[in-house]
Symmetry: C2
Subunit: 362 residues, 2 copies
């Protein structure tokens, strides 16, 4: 069949131009006579690839001097443990977590295994995670080693529109699902991490951007779990996930060619507006559980007023080439993930389908 | 340029048929209308891929019942820490290491961070790691939680021809560089791990085969560092490195089509014999630092009697399409890595080149 519009929450759609280039270079990349997968990670050809990827991250995200850019493994889930291991422990056993969904809860759970004083700075769990707490609801511990938040919540379809002011306490952001979708002021953060499989590339590589003064606070960590070791070795302490980093580099080049993060944000705003309008103007046929001010531009979670129609919706959508729309079991209904690589035409096709489906069943 | 013969120690060459299939499926795999990289790891299409990969591991390697097959991240280097974390600690703080090269030393160093009683069961460091210690040289601690060895040493070009008998103490094998190159009796092992980037696929995925009774011995480990968590979740506790596992599956299918591990061993024996003969019969022009009985079938390390010719050798070899032959800095000279995917024609071309080079300079 032809290409579909893939609304998967992650791993998610990639730009078709990236896949075409990867296809064309599969047996011989840049005249080396080999695939990127076959290159020694210390070869000149591969060093050019990883260095270019880092340079693109720095440029596109406006990473200031004094920050290291690392390509690690293990996804956000390993960061849930590496953050407390590296930034706290030892002298400071305190960390604050802003709890806005399943992933921030998981992150906090890992911290609790490792630290004795993990506190909830704010939570919307009592409201089924339907909103992002306002800054005035947040209670920060000035002695915490860091404050952690999840910038976008894939399951509940909510997103921080701005980062809270945590004063001198470093802010740690899990930006797995909205990195590169909007400008972020890295200079205000202590650490940002992101599993690649939504906006950056394939699963298997994790981007970490960390302020240098936060490195080396702990001694005796296993080498692979120590940010300082990875930083000293330019993400080459051991063999990095070379092919995943190559694809990530291609995705970043694609973003740059499109006009950078500012242009991504413009497109994402248009895509999200189109889809939320279709929901809001459906006379209650479709409903969005997330509060208006907290809505995610990346993951649009919505339910059908009549859940008996869910199966039919998903089946007909698939037949129309609109796939992976099933919502997470904790919310039910549908979820359209519209990351950077989802073209506006894909959202338009979904909105059109939703209209036709409603006309038939409404 | 055309495809080269790539003698890289890893990431290394992949079968061209695997790369061709990956290329052909890049934009649309199995009629899904998407790349494997874009598939939700929980989709039916992807579950078929990972399940097939596991089934192939079990079949090709003859994994007995009572063992879990896991696909993890972080390479062998993360296993250096996960093995002591999971198998020892708590009640038993003791582990034995057989030290046969840089990688076993690194593995032992990580264990020492985590355990109080790490001992050397045998070592050939005094002989510059030029051989594998004989079983009668090994002194095992019967109270150790495990014995660790590296089955093939990429840098020094040595390889265990058989595993020692460790009695009731589980044997843990880092088989990163010779997995699938020869039959291995998994039933004799407690745990086997292998970074994929030599014989299994691209970097970014690590195969772990672990005896089930060794799982869950430790409580309170970070989830991502706990074998039991990965085992309970079928390697899907978090998003696995989906594309790397897909390529690994294609490589395993290729091995199966070639005739399985037994056929790989026959080819590897022929390739190694051809290359060692060219060295041994060069009248001292080429020399092999590894002792005859300990020689690796995977990594043939050799030096030129006159090291001033090294640069010229490497330059001319590259011009002849024979690349990545430079030896590791700890040994110097050359290293030809001839993993499963290196065709016999590649070794024949190298041997021919070595003869011509010697005729000119010998």
């Amino acid at each position: 069949m032809g290409r579909v519009f893939n609304f998967s929450a992650g791993p998610g759609a990639l730009p078709v131009e990236v896949l075409e280039q990867a296809r064309d270079e599969m047996l011989d990349c840049a005249g080396t006579g080999m695939s990127v997968m076959e290159m020694s990670h210390r070869s000149e050809a591969y060093m050019a690839i990883i260095n270019q990827a880092e340079a693109s991250v720095r440029k596109l995200m406006g990473v200031p001097a004094g920050y290291k850019v690392l390509f690690l493994q293990g996804g956000a889930s390993l960061q849930f443990a590496m953050v407390p291991m590296n930034l706290a422990g030892g002298a400071s056993q305190a960390a604050d977590y802003i709890v806005t969904g399943s992933w921030s809860k998981k992150a906090m759970k890992e911290a609790k295994r490792l630290l004795s004083e993990v506190r909830v700075a704010a939570s919307s769990e009592g409201e089924k995670f339907s909103r992002i707490p306002a800054p005035e609801e947040m209670r920060f511990n000035p002695d915490a080693a860091y404050v952690h938040l999840t910038s976008n919540n894939t399951i509940y379809g909510t997103e921080f529109s701005a980062f809270p002011d945590t004063g001198k306490v470093p802010l740690v952001v899990d930006a797995s699902s909205n990195v590169l979708s909007r400008p972020m002021d890295i200079g205000r953060l202590g650490l940002l991490y992101a599993g690649a499989q939504k906006n950056l590339g394939p699963s298997g590589v994790t981007l970490v951007i960390v302020r240098e003064d936060l490195l080396g606070k702990r001694e005796g960590l296993p080498a692979m779990l120590d940010y300082a070791v990875h930083a000293e070795n330019g993400s080459m302490y051991n063999t990095p996930p070379t092919y995943a980093i190559y694809i990530l580099g291609l995705v970043l080049s694609w973003v740059e060619k499109q006009g950078g993060v500012a242009e991504m944000e413009r497109r994402n705003l248009r895509k999200a507006a189109l889809l939320y309008r279709a929901i809001d103007e459906s006379g209650g046929f479709y409903r969005c559980p997330a509060e208006v001010g907290s809505r995610s531009r990346m993951n649009v979670a919505f339910t059908l007023a009549n859940p008996e129609l869910d199966k039919s919706f998903l089946k007909l959508a698939k037949e129309a080439g609109l796939v992976s729309l099933k919502g997470h079991r904790s919310v039910g209904g549908m979820r359209a993930s519209i990351y950077n690589a989802m073209p506006e035409a894909g959202v338009a096709a979904l909105v059109e389908f939703m209209g036709v489906f409603r006309a038939k069943h409404g």
